[in-house]
Amino acid sequence: RGLAAGPEMHFGFQTVTEEERREKINQVFESVAKKYDVMNDSMTLGIHRVWKDILMHKMNPSPGTLLLDVAGGTGDIAFRFINYVRSKQEHQLQRKLKHHQNLSWQEIFESYQKDKFNSLGDSQVVVCDINREMLKVGKQKAQHLGYSEGLSWVLGNAEELPFDNDKFDVYTIAFGIRNVTRIDLALQEAYRVLKPGGRFLCLEFSHVSNPLLSRLYDLYSFQVIPVLGEVIAGDWKSYQYLVESIRQFPPQEELKAMIEDAGFFKVDYENLNFGIVAIHSGFKL
């Protein structure tokens, strides 16, 4: 439901075939890649950063976690993950040192050295995206910001992941699942590549039920966002697609049911900003 039956589907408010949809979405992201981050900040007035921070807190990864971030293009989730486990690792180290009050300076120094080479505590994140341009931007950002350890970039399709079964501790997809043509396949793949006990987390635009807020949100989405797209990125059409695709996406309960259909347990969701955005979570048991 939410997807048209047969070979016809929606691209925003247009009706297209599956092939056309994939191609159109590919073009959208090729076109927006360079200005992706600027546009995110402009459209959400920087709030998307808070949403992603909340996702990371909910995940609460401990050092040693292996994360797969799908549709992770420009690296926002991956970098946050690295920061989070690095700081956790540091805290753990500090706590350890506090307990070793009787160590000589030499021993403390050595202990520091050992853990310095392990600043991430063996945590790793794989960023997987179907679009080369987005990955390119992500890699450049990583270089610019100094992220290299524990980070890898893979070109891949969420509907057919290039990974073995039972590999990852956590699977995230932030603002990506909306652009997947066969959501059911993506969910099945997510289930497949997660280890037993692994967690699925999805951060995505969802539905606002409050009628007043919904109208204001629609007004802002349809009147302001494409204009921002044109003025900042010189690209009205991609941002028109963006706001339309949000309306086409299954609402909270429907997505929850789809996640359960893929085999996940303990599926629930948390609304952020009255449902403008929702985080869905599920576990593979």
Binding site: R1, G2, A4, F13, T15, S214, D218, F222, Q223, V224, P226, V227, L228, E230, V231, I232, G234, W236, K237, E244, R247
Partner: protein, 250 residues
């Protein structure tokens, strides 16, 4: 014809009905047309004005500004064209100035001082091409969309007729001329704010000689959009200037 504004209502999950409504609302009048509501046009006008000032290399923003603010000036221009035999001709035939439609070799072969020869010289000297003009997107009338397209494509010929190069100074002078000629708010804004980025020495020349000349010529000359340039390549530039009423450049 007029387009219905792109006011999209979120439609229900049950498909059919909402879909038809959406397709109707998206009324494309010409290829590249994006129908917009009044609010969207206002936001676009404001946004493009700011962006054009902030980043002068965003020519697309200047174009958008022209389209969203031209609602009074464009019909005016179109009427001027309709009421003039040559202008009427242009509206009927809708000629386009593009590398693919121009016979560059022939124009280069024309005698010095002719419109065709001097136009090609201008393109070469300033390393510009007529193909870089933005097609209109936000004009909600397909005849007016042609008018603004024609205005853009004829811009380089303005440079040729006025003898102005494509540096900031030259562009500002041409904008003053165009502002007087067309009344397009975008030209007025460009003429008023363009000089902001010029040195004081250039500003002096601009204020004392160039702008007064551009204004006088603009007022004196007949409508430059009423000239079928493509049929006048052999005509000497000076003769065309005289015919139009453009005073010789200082």
């Amino acid at each position: 014809g007029r387009a219905r504004a792109n006011h999209s209502e979120p439609w229900g999950r049950d498909g059919r009905g909402g879909e038809e409504e959406e397709e109707e609302g998206w009324h494309q009048l010409y290829p590249g047309h994006i129908p917009t509501s009044l609010l969207q046009k206002a936001l676009l006008a404001a946004g493009s004005a700011v962006m054009a000032l902030y980043d002068p290399y965003r020519h697309d923003m200047v174009a958008v500004l022209g389209e969203t603010t031209g609602c009074l000036a464009l019909p005016n221009l179109r009427d001027k064209m309709k009421n003039h035999p040559e202008g009427y001709h242009i509206l009927q035939e809708r000629p386009r100035i593009r590398l693919s439609t121009l016979d560059m070799a022939r124009l280069q072969g024309l005698p010095d001082g002719s419109l065709g020869r001097e136009y090609v010289r201008f393109l070469e000297d300033n390393k510009v091409s007529p193909d870089t003009r933005m097609p209109p997107k936000f004009v909600d009338d397909e005849e007016l969309a042609y008018v603004i397209q024609r205005y853009r494509e004829v811009h380089d010929l303005m440079h040729t007729l006025l003898g102005m190069p494509t540096n900031m100074l030259g562009e500002v002078v041409v904008k003053w001329f165009e502002a007087v000629q067309t009344g397009l708010p975008m030209c007025v804004l460009g003429a008023a704010f363009g000089p902001v980025r010029l040195s004081t020495r250039k500003l002096q020349v601009l204020a004392t000689e160039l702008v007064p000349w551009a204004i006088r010529s603009g007022l004196n000359a007949s409508c430059v959009l009423n000239v079928y340039y493509e049929q006048r390549w052999e005509q000497p530039v000076e003769s065309l200037r005289e015919e139009l009423g453009i005073f010789p450049p200082p």
